[in-house]
Symmetry: C2
Subunit: 636 residues, 2 copies
């Protein structure tokens, strides 16, 4: 057992009880104990109740110069709609490393969205004996980061529509006078944020009265083209009726109606800023330069042009600090940024990973989760996140299940809420073997980045020895460094010890440098095409709208950014029904947006929705509070 003081030995039961019952069966350590075990001084964290703490960025200054731990990213094969246990495996691996292999380890997870928690999928704390606890606090408000994103995103949205409205009814002079109100002595002046716009416009005057009429117009009138506005409102709820709406229908808004819509909060550019920023100062700049649309003359309009970049930063100032929690077996977890790697960037944050790497230190491990398959989360992890962080992973774990491989081999459709077909619960080696084409492509795509790939087969009770061997053989044949069967759902960290050993060896034996899939200095289309080829596509089709946007962003000087594709997680292609390893298709790009503050171009592939819906019977039907004990029931 580990030398760590907070390791908890958990008795495992069979059959495995419900997730919330396992979570509620142990008394978590006070989070200050977990912090102490990481050598975190109390001045570097703020408690949020007994079991959560926000770790302050100041710890990075203190640990500057000390060495990093190994950096492991966990992705998966193309999943079924039931999920293949990627979070569970991430937690199980860390429990193995920390509680059984005596390593310093920090798990970096993303904060769950409340949409799925109350919708179809349930929570995201892992499952069985590999969970983050308290799982209700993990799945609900946590420390308010997503709520802060929602608030900031929607303040900016309100600022946009209101500005268009006020500009429509006021002269240039009246606008300037309102923007620069007189102080008690009757003097008008520019606020600090207006100097940012003045600088951008190349106007070097210091007082409102010095401006020429032309300069007054340029400064005070953003002249936003309503049709160009790409900034949408967000909500952390699965509310399909907000996908497309018309706003401004009240009589006071004088007919200034506009079609727009809501995305789920985790798809907000502000979430991507949070994930990709490296400091408070960097976050301030990124939030200020987010582009919300264009002026009628075609110039990008930013949050700072609207005067709101500072306020957005103030709303996000606590959210930048990752939240410390613990696994069931008492190893530390940093929770930060958000999921939905299909429609967003969907990785944990750079700051959380950086803090974790310092806290783990040389010989220690940081295991960070990337959403969905290597075509989704891992691709973005490498080409966007590692590009901005300059961090280098040594090992990528790919989580596979016999169930998903059978689906890729031609098994019947898997539908959430419906019983599984018999094909999935009885031995069928050839189905598994046929499905390994999917695994093989994930391995080769991931290996191309220069990391060692370890396949983790997340074992179910119905999996047979022959099926598991088939996966192992296929994985090694496809170039995996190792492939290991794990039972951490049923057994906790103990069930992932072999995986932990394989990951350690993989980290210690890296032979190549990190290689990106594409360089930044090629065109937007060339970058999209490089990613499309990695999906198996032989070409890309752009809609008229996509062509128009690419041309505009290129003209505006944004073509040097990396690409964040919004694509279904259920296939390498744009068509969720195409299982296995499809080739020879043409990838349709419906639209292209730009997240200039976060720092990427955002193509929408096919018909991806950015706002999920609720089913007839959402998860919330089972969720309630035991008001006598205060415990949450029915959360999964």
């Amino acid at each position: 057992m580990s030398a760590s003081k907070t390791v908890r030995k958990v008795e495992v039961l069979s059959p495995v009880p419900a997730d919330i019952d396992i979570a509620n069966s142990v008394e978590p350590f006070h989070i200050s104990e977990i912090a102490k075990d990481l050598n975190l001084s109390p001045k570097h964290y703020d408690l949020y109740g007994k079991y959560k703490a926000k770790v302050l960025l100041s710890v990075l200054d203190e640990l500057e110069g000390s060495g990093d731990g190994y950096y492991v990213v966990v992705g998966g094969i193309t999943p079924t709609p039931l999920g293949e246990g990627k979070s569970t495996t991430t937690v199980g691996l860390c429990q193995a490393l920390g509680a059984f292999l005596d390593k310093k380890v920090v798990t970096c997870l993303r904060q769950p969205s409340q949409g799925p928690t109350f919708g179809i999928k349930g929570g995201a704390a892992g499952g069985g004996y590999s969970q983050v606890i308290p799982m209700d606090e993990f799945n609900l408000h946590l420390t308010g980061d997503i709520h802060a994103i929602t608030a900031a995103n929607n303040l900016l949205a309100a600022a946009i529509d209101t500005r268009v409205f006020h500009e429509s009814t006021q002269s240039d002079k009246a606008l300037l006078n309102r923007l620069c109100p007189p102080n008690k002595e009757g003097k008008r002046s520019f606020s600090d944020i207006m100097f940012r716009r003045l600088k951008k416009l190349g106007i070097s005057k210091n007082k409102p009265e010095e401006l020429s009429p032309q300069e007054v117009k340029k400064l005070a009138r953003l002249d936003i083209d309503p049709a160009s506005i790409t900034w949408r409102r967000v909500m952390d709820v699965n509310d399909r009726f907000l996908r497309k709406i018309t706003v401004g229908q009240g009589p006071e808004e004088k007919g200034m109606v506009r079609e727009t819509g809501f995305d789920i909060s985790v798809a907000s550019e502000i979430m991507a800023v949070l994930a990709l920023t490296t400091s408070l100062a960097d976050m301030r700049e990124r939030l200020g330069k987010m582009v919300i649309g264009n002026s009628k003359a075609g110039d990008p309009v930013t949050a700072d042009d609207l005067g709101v970049g500072g306020a957005l930063t103030v709303l996000m100032k606590d959210a930048i600090n990752p939240t410390l929690m613990q696994t069931l077996e008492g190893t530390p977890v940093l929770v930060h940024a958000g999921p939905f790697a299909n429609i967003a960037h969907g990785n944990s944050s750079i700051v959380a990973d950086k803090i974790a790497l310092k806290l783990a230190g040389p010989g220690g491990f940081v295991v960070t989760e990337a959403g969905f398959g290597s075509d989704i989360g891992t691709e973005k992890f490498m080409n966007i996140k590692c590009r901005y962080s300059s961090l280098t992973p040594q090992c990528a774990v790919i989580v596979a299940t016999i169930r998903a491989l059978k689906m890729h081999g031609g098994g019947p459709e898997v539908v959430a809420g419906k019983p599984l077909d018999r094909a999935y619960t009885t031995e069928n080696v050839s189905l598994v073997e046929a499905g390994c084409v999917n695994l093989a492509r994930h391995i080769s795509n991931t290996k191309a980045y220069g990391v060692n790939v370890v396949v983790a087969v997340n074992m179910f009770a119905t999996d047979s020895e022959a099926e598991l061997n088939a996966v192992r053989n296929a994985a090694l044949a496809a170039g995996a460094y190792d492939a290991v069967v794990c039972t951490h759902h049923a057994h906790g960290g103990k069930g992932a010890v072999e995986l932990g050993i394989a990951v350690q060896k993989a980290c210690e034996n890296v032979t190549q440098p990190l290689k990106f899939l594409y360089p930044l200095d090629i065109s937007i289309k060339e970058k999209i095409e490089a990613i499309a080829r990695s999906y198996g596509a032989n070409g890309v089709e752009y809609s008229e709208q996509a062509e128009k946007q690419i041309e505009m962003y290129s003209k505006q000087g944004f073509s040097g950014l990396p690409i964040c594709m919004a694509k279904t997680q259920y296939s390498f292609s744009h068509n969720a029904a195409e299982k296995g390893a499809p080739t020879g298709f043409s990838l349709p790009i419906r639209d292209v947006r730009a997240s200039i503050g976060a720092g990427f171009i955002y193509p929408l592939v096919g018909t991806m929705s950015t706002m999920p819906g609720l089913p007839t019977r959402p998860c919330f039907y089972d969720i309630d509070l035991d008001t006598a004990t205060g415990k949450v029931i029915g959360l999964s």
Copy 2:
């Protein structure tokens, strides 16, 4: 000086610096010090950072049977748009009682809405040397209560539209089968929350297969009339373009468009539930019985009918715990529930006041703030909040300013953002005397509840001795127990010592029992008319829509509830321009809604908007983060 260990002596400067600069000039006590001074055991609170803690309801069980402190409510006269310093006076009074008069004292304030903080008004932490600190934490996310309300409100909204959608495309049988999915053994069962609906429908069967086709229809088909839906979405942002919107315009929603809108979050019924609930169990029941509209047959449809009452409670389980903070001079503050007493209930919570009364104990003081004038916050405090809490206030403080009284006496219009007319900054005793009709009506209306009324004149530097005397004389003539001039903005608690002494005497010399303005067992219209008379109205005009709603709610059995009027705060009447003490008008009721979970009928008077807007130059222009120090700048 007080025996309390956390009293802080603050050096006052003249002229008074900016609020944020005063707030940032002192290092707050660690909140555990404030808790200790209140004899709060660490097991009864959870830290949220260094300067905030959530006080757990469990403290009420522990202190059951111990005595209460005096209960003081602070309201104001009819204000100017600039505000008359009601929060400032509340804080100043408590600093006087705690830091200068050696009393145990707890201040109960409402959490500010981020709408005004970034919009026109700025924050609500008080001002000058009478503030809650850290003022940025107070004004921003605090401990997430309003965000929790937003999340819960909007989950319910999504559940409504989605349910209407799914019912439109499914047979009764299909609906039932989806609502009661088979378990692994293929058996279907009712979830706990469905038994609530079964009970309401008078169906005493235990298994889905036992239901008759008629019962299947009754259980599974809520048959919501879309036109009857009163539940709106909310956002804690001043977003006027969301006042009236059309939702459901996406192609997947198949033409099921509907007109609706967003309110500001603090106007959510869930905020009112939070303010009026007394325990977790009570909150669970209130959230479940919130009515969102009717079935086509005219029956009320509740959150529990939609299966979501439990999930709403889970989202609100931490929000029910008030947040402990401190004043500039180190006295304790409990922050809970929300503002906007014009369009909402707008008082601090019953649980916060109850906890505070026990912590203050016999001889101690709890000072709680009610929004705006006695026609707004205090009326609701007495007739709704005290009715549900069974608590009895001894003293009501009415805050007045020379500025506002001059306005009521006929002074020129006061407009936020424009310089004050000279009438307000030079002596004009007759203007003040004329305006005292407003103060007099607030005094007599408040005195009618059986409390002693103390008038606090919040003094400005430009007020003259003769003007102040005029107010004092008018107040005593109108029946005030006392009237005191205070300078707490400039001098902190020291400037409100005389007020503290007056309040203490008023509390010790109560001669009457609490009397409500109206009994509950009269009709909805009679109750509305009783309140209208207290405004000075000689009659009430109901719109057709209001008549229809009153008839329906009466038929549905809701006529026994108290009334929560949504009315402008700028006049006793519905017309903001009618200053002084208007009489002889007829009060127009535009619409009537029902907050059945919170427990009141909600008439909308005149043209009250439930979603504010942003001006051309919102407060956010000045707000930014000093990224070197992490300090917020420009917040007012």
